[in-house]
Symmetry: C2
Amino acid sequence: VRLGEAMGAIRPADAGAMAAARERHARLTKPAGSLGALEELSVRLAGLAGGCPPPVPTRPVVAIFVGDHGVHAAGVTPWPQEVTGQMVANFLAGTAVINAFARQVGAEVVVVDVGVASRIDDPTGQLWRRRVRSGTRDLSTGPAMTREEALEAIGVGLAVALELAGRGHDVLLTGDMGIANTTPAAALVAALTGADPADVTGRGTGIDDATLARKAAIVAAALVRHRPDPTDPVGVLAAMGGLEHAALAGLILGGAALRVPVILDGVAGCAAALVAAALAPAAADAMVAGHRSAEPGASVALAHLGLTPLVDLGLRLGEGTGAALALPIVAAAARVLHDVATFDSAGVARVDARPDNERGEASQRAVQT
Amino acid sequence: VRLGEAMGAIRPADAGAMAAARERHARLTKPAGSLGALEELSVRLAGLAGGCPPPVPTRPVVAIFVGDHGVHAAGVTPWPQEVTGQMVANFLAGTAVINAFARQVGAEVVVVDVGVASRIDDPTGQLWRRRVRSGTRDLSTGPAMTREEALEAIGVGLAVALELAGRGHDVLLTGDMGIANTTPAAALVAALTGADPADVTGRGTGIDDATLARKAAIVAAALVRHRPDPTDPVGVLAAMGGLEHAALAGLILGGAALRVPVILDGVAGCAAALVAAALAPAAADAMVAGHRSAEPGASVALAHLGLTPLVDLGLRLGEGTGAALALPIVAAAARVLHDVATFDSAGVARVDARPDNERGEASQRAVQT
């Protein structure tokens, strides 16, 4: 029911706020269009906020959802499954890469166990224990989850979004950890975009050619076995997804319902974004593509969603690391609409110049101020 | 003399520190190579610092050098020359885009008048008044500066670097403002890389096709007129450069001499970087390419210097805006080598996996910890 409420609360971006942001950009003391992709980003933030200027995010949080995967048994990665739980300890100790990045950009980190297979000690009580089950079943031999489990995991992500927003967090960054989780991510991307499994299956944390071939074959066979219906995203998740992908979809839906921007990290976040958009198309207006993961499925998903990533540095770590690097860019895009003077207010002479290749007409008029 | 001292102090990156950084990366709790371009960036920072881990920059500063250009009279831009001085007032008021970006990423901004044509009021005394002359001469009719003026402007930038470092700034960001200054920048890039003028001349703040054709013809004619010798970068600067380009070259040399990283912004900073590298090739080891400006000369210069930009969002504003967006990425790259646990210390099982396409050999060994 709560999921239904959230989906019902999701509205498209506010066209008036977007128009106001575009109009304001034209009056700021800079050549028209000179901030490139940042201008459209700030327009989207205004549309999501429903006003211009949109708020500058000051309380960012990375929500790392962690789960294990039955398909690990099929040999899709050389990493032992125990590493999932070991990395949770690393996150809680503040010594993983995402902790370093989050510290750098002023973001908090929360770690949510939505489906780890092993027992996790947490003497300091930092872990958000929301385990739906101890790892999924093997998607190569049957459904990864029941439909109820998938819905429960979506509900976990949704509840986390509401709780984080309630604590004052004003931008959510997707994070994930789960040994083998790029296999279900690839399956989700293939199922929800119609892409060829070979085009969305990547090397994840680093696998050799033989393992990559096996992984792509498993994804292809899963599509044949489960016959996923892209108009039933919960069914797709249950058949082939991971608990962290389901929870991330819920987080994104929660952000969209609350009109809080969600910065997508790598292929897990992008696959979850496809699920969220399939459930509520307007949720895409709350999404910001943080970076272009080296994992090919991420690019396929972003293209399907019509999103262009902000950072493209070949990262393939997950955890929220790419989203964290994009965060200052997102904040800067919002801040421009607050802090920058207009030509009129600053007494700067204005020229209505724009490259011909950007507007298709040759016109340069000096406007007196 | 001071320039000679600075050039003499510039040493190549420390190979031992770079090897130590690479070795440390291999032991950190992440798959090998999973941070993509950030790993090599952190290695370069270690090489510059002469130790691993390199310091995490905490006191960033954007140095905006401002100048006017005699070539403005040749009709290379629709913007009136007065806008240069008006934008100085905007910087000092804290209401330009660079002020917003710098505020977002925690950087200070200093504004240095190295060659504005007009009188500038500065009631609060913030402006660094280092004017060498009130704008350059028109490079399309004669040399833009004397050799002495070019050297003096280089000395201004060098002195600013030393003063900023003396105040505790540990990373320098290049900034620039000067109506018409992409014309001398294009000329510098063409002269110092051998590129065709048409391939390095861009639309700057936004010019129409006719103005672009005139601008490229002016750059091409200047190369014929001045016959710049790329082995004499001061002579190239004097013939066709701007005072802010000269000062930026000095800033970069100063950073390199002090082993402080310099984040390059747009085409002005990139053109200045070519000058600096022509004077002292090892200065390139201090440079970080902040972003890929939409101005084509910037990309040509970066390729010549062997640098890959961190951010690529189609910005074409200057002021240091692209460098500011890259700053958190640079800091994050250094911080990884400080904050992240090793497999051994964190008790995480290590797998020596790396994609075949990254190392050309298939090998995956589980290493017990």
